[in-house]
């Protein structure tokens, strides 16, 4: 079988791709359709279907967890995903949804559906047989178990666009030089943590990822909110910085996948979290001195 693919199908595909006029394009389309049919029949086409029918506000993070879980479940090869979205959702974050999906290096194709019938109609062409029809994952909410699994699991690195990585690495070099850089993404109600972390880690450059607010900041804090960074660039910034202190959103997820040291906050008692941040900062700096 391997030799047939190597000596017949691949050269034929390469040749047909270069003959981009009729009837070669028709031959190419039919050959590729046949290849897909074979992939479907032999079970090499894998799709995962997710439903986000309740709302899309936290969908970028939930998709990140979901993709990570799929990656762990399928040890090799590429896969496709279909996401059933609510038509009435007005969370203005579909661009972030697609940004997160595009970071998965093993994800081939993406189907976004606002209609059950269209999804059912397409499903046999994404994946054949019972597996495709076996039901969809609920991605409306990340379970506590799912979050714990994500926090502990080994992750496959995500693939951010080269331009986004170049842009923020240059920015970070210019703004921080050789100093340690910590990304801050604090919850709106816990800005007191800012003082805690800045006091606990002197000599470090801090980068505020979220809304900066109007409060004056010390000179070693840079607010990135008005830098016009895309989600890919913000994720690349988190990846390029030395540590992350902030909430568990898509940036927190990016920090975990990238193995950045740090503290996730905004999930428990603010006093305990302040203490945890202080201890972590002391350990973080202690290890680096």
């Amino acid at each position: 079988m391997i030799s047939v693919r190597r000596w017949l199908i691949r050269p034929a595909r390469r040749t047909l791709r270069r003959l981009e006029w009729f009837p070669f394009t028709l031959l190419s389309a039919l050959l590729f359709a046949a290849v897909r049919l074979r992939e479907l029949r032999t079970g090499r086409a894998v799709v995962r279907v997710g439903r986000a029918t309740g709302g899309t506000a936290a969908l970028p993070l939930r998709l990140m967890l979901w993709l990570d879980h799929i990656g762990a479940e399928l040890p090799s090869g590429s896969f496709d995903v279909c996401v059933r979205l609510p038509r009435a959702a007005e969370d203005a974050n579909l661009h972030d949804v697609i940004s997160v999906l595009l970071t998965s290096p093993r994800l081939a194709s993406i189907g976004l559906y606002w209609d059950d019938d269209a999804l059912s109609d397409d499903q046999p062409l994404w994946q054949n047989g019972a597996a495709a029809a076996s039901g969809a994952n609920d991605i409306d909410e990340a379970s506590a178990e799912g979050i714990e699994r994500f926090l502990r699991a080994e992750h496959q690195p995500f693939a951010l666009p080269v331009a986004a990585r170049r842009e923020v690495q240059t920015l970070l070099k210019r703004l921080a030089g050789g100093a340690y850089a910590i990304c801050l993404n604090l919850p709106a109600g816990q800005m007191a943590l800012l003082d805690v972390v800045v006091t606990a880690a002197p000599g470090v450059r801090f980068f505020e990822m979220g809304c900066a607010g109007s409060k004056p900041r010390p000179a070693n804090i840079t607010a990135l909110a008005d830098y016009g960074l895309t989600l890919h660039e913000r994720m690349a910034f988190v990846q390029a910085a030395d540590a992350y202190v902030g909430i568990f959103d898509e940036l927190g997820g990016a920090a975990i996948i990238s193995g950045r040291p740090g503290v996730l906050v905004g999930r428990g008692d603010p006093v305990s979290e302040a203490l945890a941040v202080t201890q972590w900062a002391a350990e973080f700096l202690g290890r680096r001195q």
């Binding site: 394009t25 579909l94 189907g111 080269v162």
Partner: protein, 320 residues
Amino acid sequence: MAESMIGIYDFSYAPYALGDALTWTMNLNIGAAEAGLETIDQYLVIDPSRPTNRHQPFINTLNVVGIIDQLFPAFLCSPKLRSLKIIRHVPTFNRFLVREALRRRRMWPSCWSHLNRNLDFISHRRINAFHRKHGTLPWLTAPRGYDAWAETFLRTHAVGRVVVAVNIRQSSLSATPASLSRDSPVQEWLSFLRRATTRHPDVVFLVMGAYAELDREMSRLPNVVIPRAMGFALAHELALLCRADLFMGTSSGFAAMATFCNKPYLIVNVDQGFSQYIDVPVGERHYPFGGDNQILYWERETADVLLDFFEELQARVRHR
């Protein structure tokens, strides 16, 4: 299951460009309206091993993800959108294509055109013909999921004021410079904005375009709001444009959005070569489907020209 209109945007022969994506969506809307179809299924096809097309040789496997990420919201502007697939595996797409062809679904481009790798991504031929026949057009809307956000944003930043969306094309400052002759003279726009914001303090200007293309001085001007500098993206800008009272800008992607969501507009520096594609003689003031408040200006803009047109249009908009 109800039949739907099929849209194919294959990036191996169609450009990665905002205006062309919006024109394609408009043609899809027209195809659906002509056939009496209520829904549209879109296929965006990218061959990951060969993502470029003959119009944009600078696109390669390393930058294509970033470019599609930025352009994606342009494909969310049809109110009939039912599904959108980004297919990065050629056999998968061809399996779908064969199914749709066997079902004799209406497609844009047609299956024959697709097999000939031929997409009319620029002309207004079908749009003009539809307007001649029906006297109206199936307009684009804000990207799916962004309209309520735009309403809230304008309530916060522009309540009770005339909202003017502005695009000052500065492709020379972008990561992928192209057609620099269509770039705007930024000093003329700055001069216009300084005068307009002084003379009309009840107007708020929303400056749109990629962050790299923005001029720093604009953020110092009163009554100027720059959504990109606030962390928002193309999808938010398109939604805001749909809710603005007026659009002013160069002939480019944002101008296409203003044109196809039926806003009052002034589009300046219209490329004379574009005339043959839109069936509008050079110098003609309106598209065939354009109204009195939808003006084409074929010469390079100056601050005086911009101010004159702005005052004419905003007075009309105000008295609507």
